[in-house]
Amino acid sequence: MSRNPTRKEVAKRAVLAELERLRQGRHARYQTLMGRFARCQDLQQSAALLVAAVEASLRTNNRTPLDAPPGWLPPVS
């Protein structure tokens, strides 16, 4: 003999299903760019490498003035 689940049981199953999606990383909250970034170590390491590269590049090239675009005044010093 089967019985219909109560409202509480239905609610419990729904919350458990949502928590399971969260556990597996399939929840909508993780599908945003920031959500994926927060959970992906490869992305975080790539970003850290890029930041380090930009900083290194700044240190290397900080004495090389860029040419002024045509029609602009050249740098004063």
């Binding site: 609610a11 928590l19 969260l22 556990r23 959500g35």
Partner: protein, 326 residues
């Protein structure tokens, strides 16, 4: 953005105004799921928690405390309970145990409750000479299982330290030291009654207040024995090695402003100099259902013990002014 004939302002109506990002809520998700499976958490709290596992766990903890005597606890104690991945604010997380969490209880705002025993002991002494000491030691023993009580023994220890310091000073004899022994009623020197003798004495009590007090005390003792509090492992002990002793949650004195209260006030000045150890630390594994069930059961017993102690203090004459929350 659509072009119009006049000035157009961007609309943010559909843009979420709150963003919450949790870098790693894996343990919180697992704990929330198991709490719900065990019926410790209730599904209705998921919406109240705005579908956030950490808030859901916090609400579950609040609800668990409430169903285990929360209102009675709040009358006499100011405590906070949290679940953390470290046993204290200062302790570093044990990276060898990535799945370890701690249920922690400590006094909030460094506030201590107070209970005055003098009038109660006088009432009980009129019934049986050993009843006062039995009552006091049963009460303090039951509570000390879970939280720290500052009583005459702590004060005696403090007074002894002060005596030793004074003895090293050239004018040591001029120091006025607290007379803790003089604050302890003589009836406290009596031996404690055995359980069977206490039950026998209790059966013969005619005074209604004394009867209620002893009944509540026996109930408190029974509740506190509901579960055995396990010892913390060496690994946790090591994490807490730089901490001060736990802050007392209750000051047990015999009279308002006696030498015990004086020692406590003086000693309290230094209790926060170093981070104190929490009163209750229950390590558990959120990936292990049995571990969660055991921990919440134990926490429930701790709450029921503190609530039972609060009800005993409610019955003790002369304690109306120490109610923290009505």
């Amino acid at each position: 953005m659509a072009q119009g004939s006049g000035l157009v302002l961007p609309r943010f109506g559909t843009v979420p105004v709150v963003h919450r990002l949790v870098a790693d809520d894996r343990l919180a998700v697992m704990l929330a799921k198991t709490l719900l499976e065990l019926d410790i958490a209730v599904p209705g709290d998921w919406q109240r928690a705005e579908r956030d596992p950490t808030s859901f766990i916090r609400l579950t903890l609040e609800q668990w405390i409430q169903t285990h005597g929360g209102s009675a606890i709040r009358r006499r104690f100011l405590l906070s309970a949290v679940i953390s991945n470290s046993p204290s604010d200062w302790a570093e997380r044990d990276e060898t145990k990535p799945n370890q969490l701690f249920l922690i209880v400590e006094p909030s705002e460094a506030t201590c409750g107070c209970a005055i025993f003098g009038p109660t002991l006088a009432l009980l002494e009129s019934i049986h000479p050993q009843l006062p000491a039995t009552f006091f030691h049963l009460f303090v023993g039951a509570l000390n299982t879970w939280i720290r009580i500052y009583d005459f023994r702590d004060a005696e220890e403090r007074a002894e330290t002060l005596r030793e310091w004074a003895a090293q000073e050239p004018d040591g004899a001029e120091y006025e030291l607290p007379d803790v022994a003089g604050s302890v009623p003589p009836c406290m020197r009596q031996a404690v009654l055995e359980n069977s003798d206490l039950a026998h004495v209790n059966d013969r009590i005619n005074d209604s207040t004394a009867k209620k007090l002893v009944d509540a005390e026996i109930s408190l003792d029974g509740v506190s024995r509901g579960v055995e509090r396990p010892e913390l492992g060496d690994d946790v002990g090591e994490q807490l090695s730089d901490c001060n002793p736990p802050l007392p949650c209750l000051l047990a004195v015999f009279a308002d402003g006696d030498a015990i209260a004086g020692c406590f006030d003086e000693e309290a000045q230094g209790m926060m100099e170093v981070e104190p150890e929490p009163n209750i630390i229950m390590p558990f594994d959120p990936t292990d259902t049995a571990s969660i069930q055991r921990t919440f059961h134990m926490f429930g017993v701790a709450c029921q013990t503190i609530a039972a102690a609060s009800r005993v203090i409610d019955l003790m004459p002369g304690n109306d002014q120490w109610i923290i929350s009505r």
